[in-house]
């Protein structure tokens, strides 16, 4: 039989029981860290953004938590527009209180976002290539995983000049945007230093898909080497069209910056053969960090990781390593933890330079191999050189404040 005292106790306890889920939710909410990934899921570089987004998301999923906090990935689709990226980041930081931002699909977007995140005292790990990111536009909030344009050029153009001592005439085809210009100016510096004759350059716009006119102009100069200084699908298109116009017969072709496996597959083995590529990541380089990336990518796609997935993964990993080392989600603590940190990244042991927040890692010069020499469908290129070519911090132009 239920007595009066038990009924009163039950009634008194009821609100507490009813409120419990809210308390539980709140307790969980306090331990969740939202990580915003800024990627272009539509527009010219959407194929790039999509792969990067996969990598970042999968890394968050694989780690699951950092310093006891559950990680939650929030995608901000910038639609390939730097202005849109800034608006989305502003909204995420002001309305959702997000402080941890990763990702970018191109350098122009990264430059805009890194200013915004810094102004709002957040942390931003990105995969942009332009020198300015860790150069004159560096700031305390921002860290960059891939190498800068300086490194890409010095790790590809320089070894190639040494490999091909008779190739003295170089022509460049350049994307007319921050990243392309940055590659071009670094190429010019190396040409000057090495006594290479730069016989011409053709700029193309961001929206170009037809390059035969530029290729004809390049062919008129009879260059020994054609260096392609652009990004994404445009690299693939220029390489493909240069080959179709017979440039491979007496000109070596170098794509200074490629996204690796996905672009090699897009070109196909018949086009890749004897073409030189620069790449930030190659699945064939076996390291503890690359095995972790390979594990999650295999689980998700059944295939080996490409550059985009690895790069997206790497920026998430850096943030997580920082949170774990700091044992805190507070931005100043993470920044402090990351400066000088060495960790097992996708290319081996990677170190973050405290002076400019650049990750010091290998950049690969690769050479496409003949179809008959491929061991499997992904064995499209060989690593010719792996170089850590970085400007000394004092020459990057980075003047970083001591604190946020």
């Amino acid at each position: 039989m239920i007595d009066r005292r038990r009924v009163l106790t039950g009634v008194a306890a009821a609100p507490l029981v009813l409120a419990a889920p809210a308390f539980i939710r709140r307790a969980n909410a306090q331990s969740v860290v939202d990580v915003a990934g800024v990627y272009s899921m539509s527009g010219t570089f959407a194929n790039v953004g999509s792969g990067l987004n996969d990598g970042s998301k999968w890394a968050i999923e694989q780690y699951g938590s950092a310093a006891g906090n559950k990680l939650n990935y929030v995608l901000l689709d910038d639609r390939g527009d730097a202005g849109e990226a800034v608006r989305k980041v502003q909204e995420a930081m002001t309305q959702r209180g997000i402080k941890h931002v990763i990702g970018c699909t191109n350098s122009a977007i990264a430059l805009a976002v890194q200013k915004e995140v810094y102004a709002r005292k957040g942390i931003y790990i990105n995969e942009a290539g332009a020198d300015e990111i860790t150069g004159k536009d560096c700031n305390k909030s921002s860290f960059r995983w891939p190498v800068a344009c300086y490194s890409a050029v010095n790790a590809t153009v320089r070894p190639l000049i040494e490999k091909l001592p008779k190739a003295k005439r170089w022509y460049t085809i350049t994307g007319q945007y921050v990243f392309g210009d940055s590659l071009l100016s670094n190429c010019k510096d190396v040409f000057k230093e090495k006594g290479i004759e730069h016989v011409g350059n053709s700029y193309h716009s961001l929206s170009d898909r037809e390059y035969s006119g530029y290729i004809a102009t390049a062919m008129a100069q009879s260059p020994d080497v054609l260096a392609i200084c652009n990004f994404g699908n445009q690299t693939v298109d220029v390489v493909r069209q240069a080959i179709s116009y017979g440039m491979k017969r007496n000109t070596k072709i170098l794509a200074v910056w490629s996204t690796g496996l996905d672009q090699f597959q897009a070109l196909g083995p018949e086009n890749c053969e004897d073409i030189y590529f620069g790449a930030n990541f190659w699945h064939g380089v076996d390291t503890p960090g690359s095995r972790r990336v390979a594990e999650i990518v295999k689980q998700k796609t059944g295939d080996v990781p490409n550059y985009l997935q690895a790069c997206g993964y790497a920026v998430s990993q850096i943030l997580i390593e920082g949170i774990n080392k700091a044992n805190s989600t507070e931005v100043p603590a993470i920044i402090k933890a990351l400066e000088g940190l060495s960790y097992e990244g996708p290319t081996g042991t990677e170190t973050i330079r405290p002076e400019d927040h650049q990750v010091v890692k290998d950049y690969y010069l690769m050479l496409g191999k003949a179809k008959s020499k491929m061991k499997d469908k992904n064995d499209l290129c060989d690593v010719v050189a792996a170089t850590k070519a970085f400007l000394p911090p004092e020459k990057t132009g980075c003047q970083m404040a001591a604190s946020l």
């Binding site: 053709s202 193309h204 035969s212 102009t217 062919m219 493909r240 116009y245 597959q265």
Partner: protein, 287 residues
Amino acid sequence: MSAQLLLFQVLNGVGIGMIYFLLSVGLTLIFGLMRFVNFAHGAFYLAAAYIAYAVVLWTGSFWWALLFGPVLVAILALIIERLLLRHTYALPHEAQILITFAVALIIQEAIILIFSPLGHNVPVPSALSGVLFLGPYVYPSYRLAVIGVAALVAVVLWIAIERTKMGSILRAGSESAEMVGLLGINVDRVFMATFALGAALAGLAGVLVAPLRGVEPFMSAEALGIAFVVVVVGGLGTLSGALVGGILIGLVQSIMSTLWPEGAQLMIYAAMALVILIRPTGLMGRI
């Protein structure tokens, strides 16, 4: 620029122009005969390029792709026309734009889901993988073959539209569908066939361009942009306009890529603006 390079760029420009003609002829045909604005034109081009990729992957033969690409896209267009588009013929152009834009997005997203957002290669058929020597320059045999196909398409279409009974019906239908209907001709079917033909031509362009540029899910936007520039320059709805517009735009792009490389793409639109200013109906458009 040397005379030799100029000559080569002119030849190359004509080649690019013929590719642009192929890209735009279906669009101009549909507009000219049906007064229908088809923003899904680029998506049909995209779908055919991916069909080519899949067929080449499965069969190893580009020639099967050349058959299946346009045919399957024409069937897809027929289905879309029957289910959706026929209900919009009487509506303002804005409604047609919206619905065909939606169709384009659905096709693009479906392709991303099926094939991934990354690009793929479609090899040039081995019989056409060589180059032709033009002095110090070389020209890809495959591009020359594409020019030949485009020229053939132009001739066949001209004969079909100007010299056959079906062509007369199509032209009459574009002037007054009601009058043609009163003569006992099923205008609905005529429009359906026209739409399928326009889509098949976009499909043909998609298949032929795939070995030149590979395939990637966002290739439709550029194709649609170029196709609209060509039909505006040449004159909306005219076959000869698509040909003249395509060649003019190809020439501008090719020559400017030597004279002012960074402005080559810009000059395409500058040429369009100039034509609109001087001749608002396009070079071959009816005033």
